[in-house]
Amino acid sequence: MSTWSRNNAAAALSCAAGLLVLLGLGLALLWAPEDADQGISQKIFYVHVPVALTAYACFGWAAWKALRLLWLGDERYDLESYTAVHMGTIFGVLTLVTGSIWAKVSWGVWWSWSERQLVLFLILFLFYSAYFMLRYSLDPGPRRQRSSAVYALFGVVLIPISFLAIRLAEGLIHPVVFTRDGPQMSDSMFLTFCVCLAGMLTLAAALYSVELAGKRIDERVRELRELLA
């Protein structure tokens, strides 16, 4: 893909993300009905769940790029996988913070260690945070690329475990909204959720492409500096 098309893709994604996020915000705050049980605080759902799913998507994308690197040996996938982990970690922080705010208003506590879903997400987050330590403890080159790729690929195993934990465990206070019978919410709530999720995924894609472009330029500037030195 040329630099021109990459830049235009980033601009198009940014516009789409802005529109979808604003639309989702409007729908969540003005259109979607209040939950009978939790009241207005349930609307945190429209930001917390899309952010969490986006974090999973970023880690999944990082694993896919890591697999491509190991399979094809193309160096460019290393930077792409690294950028996706970077994005996933940012969305992971947001998941933990928005989740804590929701927990405080719903359960009266900021965190509950007895909740497997929360603990597993924290483990996933810490696992990917350690990715940066591994990456920067090695010198740039094929060894670092391969080690980072293997690590990113291992981490993705935690995603289905984190997802299934809540469905396999009993007696949890963390709500299960998506069951085998479909989403347990009204149509308007589900539509609002879908728009918010689309907005968050597009936002992540826009940030990913901008970050990746920045990292690529950085790399080229470094190469140029070495050539001119």
């Binding site: 207005i40 605080s41 945190i44 930001v47 940012i90 947001l94 928005t98 705010i101 920045g214 950085d218």
Partner: protein, 50 residues
Amino acid sequence: MSTGEKYLAAAYLVVFAAVLTYLVLIALKVSRLERDLAELAELARQRADG
């Protein structure tokens, strides 16, 4: 403002603040790259002249 509304506002503001912070960091990175490129262009010009 009810307690629920305060927490709701906090959750949305956290995400908004994160995106805003990210934009500031990207802006700083772009200015650094601009400086680096100007420096490299100057180096290349000196090479061409010398």
